[in-house]
């Protein structure tokens, strides 16, 4: 039984990193595909498209920081806490990354026609980034209570 609990603890430590990496990979690929498509139709502003398509890469950075914060000796007493915080923050980061990629793709698609709305079109992606930051910050805050 203890082995299972310890395994869950280790799973919780690495989950934010793994799920954050998956989120960034999927999100960046979604936004990247949109920027490639937009480049075939526009005559300039390619750098902006590529820059926007890199937005979801922040999720893996948050995941790495959470992983290092959770990283400690896993005991039967703290394994449950590590598992809960790690898995749930990882899932939150994954959703944020994927949907931020979609929001970025929509922004790229819109700004290829109307470059003047570039800033406004990024607002949804920025708001989703805010939710990712919430998951990140409060994972750090809560993790301080784990022995």
């Amino acid at each position: 039984m203890n082995e299972l609990v310890l395994t869950l603890g280790w799973l919780g430590i690495y989950a934010p990193m793994a799920l954050g990496a998956a989120a960034s990979a999927i999100g960046c690929s979604i936004a990247g595909m949109a920027s490639i498509g937009a480049m075939t139709e526009t005559d300039g502003g390619y750098g902006r498209f590529v820059g926007v398509s890199a937005f979801p890469s922040t999720m893996v950075i948050y995941g790495i920081v959470i992983m290092f914060t959770l990283n400690r000796d896993v005991t039967p007493e703290n394994a449950g806490g590590l598992f809960g915080i790690g898995i749930l923050s990882g899932i939150a980061l994954m959703y944020c990354g994927i949907w931020q990629g979609r929001a970025c793709a929509a922004a790229i698609n819109a700004t290829k026609e109307k470059p003047e709305i570039f800033g406004l079109a990024l607002a949804p992606a920025a708001i989703i980034e805010g939710f990712g930051v919430f998951a990140f910050v409060f994972a750090l805050v809560i993790s301080a209570g784990i022995s």
Binding site: M33, A34, I36, G37, R102, A105, I108, N109, K112, E113
Partner: protein, 230 residues
């Protein structure tokens, strides 16, 4: 429901359309559109072909009968798995059935059977034949204006109204589909509307040119060229 991220690059590579009836041309040529559509999977390409084949008037022979057209549309519905595209197709068939009924009634005709056309209202329309809007004004609020345009012998105005209604239907569904196959199909159907409107203008211009040319030629025979008469 299709994969929501299936055609991100394809959709992003398609130019947005200008406002209908303002744009003189579709946003890109059919050649370029077909080149972009080569990114579709064979299955999706087949569905799109079926959809366009059933909806485009240019794909129908002049001598096609009602039964043949209805059979083609029924076959098309069976081959379209996406609920949104089926709903769009059904809505377009409802529109065509209602307009065909208006035209038939204007010519003094009546449906030969209890059903007329295709879709939800195929039984409702013959049952309400005497009603000016077939009792469909609430579900098809444009029907009254269509009848007025038909009665006023304004085919271009009617064409404009019907394209506008179809365009609005497509735009309404487009808001729920960003990068999936439905979004691609809706883009192509909107492209077809733009193309049809552009062709309507071209055909109108050609007819006017032909009429003016006839008038000019009729006047030319009156001209007494020096030495032309014996």
């Amino acid at each position: 429901m299709s994969n929501p991220d299936a055609y991100i690059a394809l959709i992003s590579s398609l130019p947005g359309s200008e406002r209908l009836f303002v744009a003189k041309q579709p946003p890109l040529s059919r050649l370029r559109l077909d080149r972009r559509l080569s990114a579709l999977t064979p299955k999706d390409a087949r569905v799109l072909k079926v959809l366009e084949h059933a909806l485009n008037w240019s794909d129908y022979d002049m001598g096609v009968t009602d039964a043949q057209a209805i059979a083609r549309c029924k076959d098309a519905v069976r081959e379209i798995p996406q609920p949104t595209l089926r709903a769009l197709f059904t809505a377009r068939m409802d529109l065509r059935t209602a307009v065909a009924a208006l035209r038939l009634r204007k010519q003094g005709g009546r449906p030969s059977t209890e059903t007329f056309g295709l879709g939800r209202w195929s039984r409702h329309i013959p049952a309400n034949w005497a009603d000016p809007g077939f009792g469909l004004e609430t579900v098809m609020p444009w029907l009254k204006e269509a009848k007025q345009l038909l009665d006023a012998d304004d085919p271009l105005g009617l064409e404009r109204l019907l394209l506008s209604v179809s365009h609005k239907q497509l735009k309404r569904h487009a808001a729920r589909h960003l990068f999936d196959f439905e979004a691609v199909a809706i883009y192509v159907l909107i492209w077809n509307i733009f193309d049809r409107w552009a062709q309507s203008n071209a055909q109108d211009a050609a007819k006017r040119f032909e009429k003016m040319a006839h008038q000019a030629m009729a006047g030319a025979v009156e001209i007494d060229f020096e030495g032309a008469r014996t």
